[in-house]
Symmetry: C2
Subunit: 268 residues, 2 copies
């Protein structure tokens, strides 16, 4: 399971303040803690700083690379910022980063596609087009198919594509969980070697006991083939659920990862 | 979700002793507690009493029907005992019981099939034949197909059939979870209107933190279409997982069941 640690995101108040204050220790601790907890990528997002996004993002990357060897997941709506951050990161690490994200929206596609074309970058591909959020499974699959083909035609390898079918809140549509789960399954079956990824916490928006809902939904999504998550690796219950569900889904030979997590006190 | 409350089973020491001692209060409390906790059927099993199984089972049924209107799930390897218990239950209740179980094993099939043929009884159909436990998904599907056809030909309605694909211990074969999950999905897709059911606790045999494994696997199985479980309704975490997973699987319009369970303090 690919886990993109989501905590260094300037839409979170404490992170925004830390970036403004150039609080190295705060950012470095977030990076180190997420790495220690099992993150595979460290998401870096400074999108709230409109004028200074690139400058701040590079500063964040400096801090992350100082404390961990993990690759970053460069998270920005701007292709210029992504390109600048990419060059900056590649000057400091030989790891291949992830790009968050591309979609079938015309502007995003035209700007981000040249950045990833012909590279080994991993890229999150949102099932979104210019008509906005998809409603049905078929809409998601149609957008996914067009986007995947665009990426393949531009020499992005299947195994570097992480499709995000987009998940909506169950409180506003009680079928959106099953729509998402079915989309995951159909995408994983239709494109062997591809990945799926998502931030799952949307599903519980507006409902009580969100943590339990998110954790339960993670197990269900893993059963359907989900193999990537944008998540908080410091959430111990969620991480225990991921390890356990992966073991139950047959992705853990001899239950070695499960037993290792148990011995490390991570399954409680 | 159909929940067959599994607690009144004489393979459990305390239940065996209670039956031998004619301890009405003990058996009645188990029946009432399971009904209050959300069971749909009360499993009754006195199979350890070889000579007196029928007599003891009828006594158990007397106690169950005294405290709850729920139908029983008559659980015996013997068709004679099942027939006797069935007549006994039908003298006390107008509810339709479930029979646990039939399989493709020659003797079981020949003996149990006449009991359920042409009736409205619900029946658990094990994916087992005379070669023993199945190994692959295909073996399960092949046995399921033959058994379902036998039942249909004998005028058992599709919606009264609960297929149990049989679940083995992950500790001895790390692919048995995914084998089971795939079987559930293929059975539910191949026979519209049919049900699947299983006791899930086998999966965690020999591993630590079994409760968490079982609970996580329940969510995964519900994602794949499982709509029946032989379980302990007094296990609050398991019951919370079932309600939550059903809501996430789109089986709970407007999240009413989830919100009701939350308000009743059942989601923690």
């Amino acid at each position: 399971m690919i886990i993109v640690g989501e905590l260094i995101n300037a839409t979170r108040k404490a992170v925004k303040v830390a970036i403004e204050d150039r609080d190295h220790a705060f950012i470095q601790k977030l990076a180190r803690d997420q790495a220690d907890a099992g993150a595979t990528y460290i998401d870096v997002n400074a999108g709230v700083f409109v004028e200074k996004e690139a400058e701040y993002l590079n500063w964040v990357i400096d801090n992350v690379t100082e404390v961990t060897d993990l690759p970053v997941c460069i998270d920005s709506p701007s292709s210029n910022v992504i390109e600048e951050a990419l060059i900056h990161f590649q000057g400091k690490s030989n790891k291949t980063p992830m790009i968050n994200s591309i979609s079938l929206e015309k502007e995003k596609l035209e700007n981000i596609l040249p950045v990833v074309a012909g590279t080994d970058l991993r890229v999150i591909a949102l099932c979104m087009n210019d008509k906005g959020m998809p409603h049905t499974v078929d809409e998601r699959l149609e957008t996914a198919d067009k986007l995947i083909n665009k990426l393949l035609q531009n020499n992005v390898k299947t195994e570097n594509i992480f499709v995000d079918p987009l998940l909506q809140a169950l409180a506003s549509d009680s079928s959106c969980g099953v729509t998402f789960l079915t989309s995951i399954e159909r995408i994983m079956n239709a494109y062997p070697g591809i990945h799926t990824i998502c931030g799952l916490s949307n599903v519980s928006f507006g409902l009580p006991e969100r943590g339990f809902l998110n954790q339960t939904f993670m197990a269900m999504a893993i059963a359907k083939g989900l193999d990537g998550a944008i998540a908080n690796p410091l959430n111990e219950k969620m991480m225990a659920t991921i390890v356990t569900a992966e073991t139950l889904a047959g992705r853990d030979e001899y239950c070695m990862a499960y037993l290792g997590a148990y011995r490390a006190g991570k399954i409680k």
